[in-house]
Subunit: 363 residues, 2 copies
Amino acid sequence: MARLKDVAQAAGVSIATVSNVLNGTKAVTPEVERRVLEAIARLGYHPNPHAQSLRTGHSRTFGLLVPDLTNPYFPALVQAVEATARAHGHALLVMDAGNEAEREAEALALMANYRVAGVIWVPVADRGTANGHFPIVTVDRPVAAYDAVVADHRQGGALVAQHAFDLGHRRVGLLSGPRALPSAALRREGFLAAAAGRLDVVWEREVPFSSDLPPDVVARLAEPECTLVACANDAVAVGVLRALRSANLRVPEQVSVIGFDDVPWADFVEPALTTVRQPLGALGADAVTMLQARIASPELPPQRLTLPVELIERRSAARPVSIRVAGDDARTRPRPSPPRVAASDAPTGEGDGRPALHTEACG
Amino acid sequence: MARLKDVAQAAGVSIATVSNVLNGTKAVTPEVERRVLEAIARLGYHPNPHAQSLRTGHSRTFGLLVPDLTNPYFPALVQAVEATARAHGHALLVMDAGNEAEREAEALALMANYRVAGVIWVPVADRGTANGHFPIVTVDRPVAAYDAVVADHRQGGALVAQHAFDLGHRRVGLLSGPRALPSAALRREGFLAAAAGRLDVVWEREVPFSSDLPPDVVARLAEPECTLVACANDAVAVGVLRALRSANLRVPEQVSVIGFDDVPWADFVEPALTTVRQPLGALGADAVTMLQARIASPELPPQRLTLPVELIERRSAARPVSIRVAGDDARTRPRPSPPRVAASDAPTGEGDGRPALHTEACG
DNA sequence: CACGCCTGGTTAAACGTTTAACCACTCGTT
DNA sequence: AACGAGTGGTTAAACGTTTAACCAGGCGTG
């Protein structure tokens, strides 16, 4: 492969000059610049990243550390991160913590050793496992000391309460996620706040993020005493769908179900899940631009960016039959204008309206 | 960070000696080795990978290039690849081709520039885009010149035919995938071969890997004239499920459906999909060991490893009502011993019985 | 006109390894 | 006793960059 030396020789110039035109470090005569550029193109020269890293002490590589790649939340995220990192001339070192704090710490150490320019980190738990000494931006699960980009879970919770109300529901059940996870806690808060005074939350239960529901929950679902159940998660929602089905309750005719996340298969279950979509693509893209900002100015206090979420209406939630008004068909009824989003608790962020990533399953 | 020099100084020895004990390059006195090791431990020394790469011309890094991370096929694969690469002391550079040959070629070039030790490559198409000059093992979509590890799609096809027959089906429909993809072609071949003389394939249609079925197919599904439809894919299987449902045909009571891939949500659709599972974890792990073998002996002719697949019985396929024999209940009927797998066309591989990765969705 | 100052370029050191070449010994042989 | 062959260690070069230090000439200024 062509080295700096070869280019210099071909252009009849010293290697320092070539380096300077490459990095714009120093001014050069237009004529010389032309010769150098021409030589570079002709030889197909690309700098050796290892030599660069050795010399400068940092690489043009980002690290991405996620708790568990098979969690459907992540693929879209890493895709977005990789794409925008690559667009900015950075490669991506991806590591999977396998949901273990130990493997996570090891991964962080490895990345430090690789002199990554910075890492994008989705911590396995919110234990503030601060570590090595490079720029970090966390995604989805903020760690106090670092930058963070998160979806507006609180707004998401509010959105489902609002939607339930708009559809005409009054008595609802709530299956909230593990209180220990900030995301779950915020969804719950947002839901409860928006429900206050309008929705009667006839029962609430904290469940793990899984479609295997605790027995008491499936029992309760057989006699729901509500017309809609709001779920912590799309996975939880399919658990609910199952329980409802085996209790011979029809969705959404008898009870509506709303999920959270809009995982790729949310459209594949029966009935297709009404849910709230996290802007995974934007989350990833903004994480890397945030990381670059952090690298550019390391001294700034930790920033937080909160991106808006979006309610996706599909078939699992509809107007409750009990209050259906004659002549007012759900199909033809004009939808109320989408509820204006209340700013969340951490309004640092200015989410852009970037369209969500389109993902599609195949072969 | 501690450098070789520091270790040498601390151990009262030259840097060459430290390097030698690190790499086992040359014999050293036990006493000296002890001192060096102690110094290394005390200083928490880790070699600078960039210096190593610069000197040796190759890095302890593998590349992984996939066509599209949001394809549910891949997350489990990259997880397995990352885990086993890491276990062998290698980091992983992940790139996503976004299903574009152009981005794929660019990614390959970047990896070459990064002096990766080798790359694991799932080509976007089977166009033999041979390229850079480093060890490559392809996964799922073999390219003539390189090593390959693939799932036994042919056997998979045979498995579904066999299963259909065992359940008592005789008239079946086949929705095969794009003939241009080797995997789809092999599934079809295997299916047809195993069906020959036992199953009546009343219709066949080639469809894209998508749950949006062509109109004529959904029309056909309204009057299926068969008791089971074998699908190219889990995605097309859910398309079939939908079509059947809107034709008021009950699955599996009136018509059975079998998918392919066992995507993570195959258990979430209604009814849960009977399908064939690809050993994604083993595929990934074997790909990296194969890559290491290739690196160790570059002169060997291209190898091919074919891993067995597994039929996952869930609820979408059952005995056809039409031929149910009195007293012979599907629940109690002894299942025939699992069909012995016929060796596939490329029997180079000796798939090990490694258990497939357990993947689970959460928050 | 001599001086200092830009301007555009070169030389050489340094980053942290690996590894070939070299060297001082100790042994076993003759 | 002299020699050759290990044995266990060191010295120094090289990998391909970046960048500080240096330098030659042109030019406005006193």
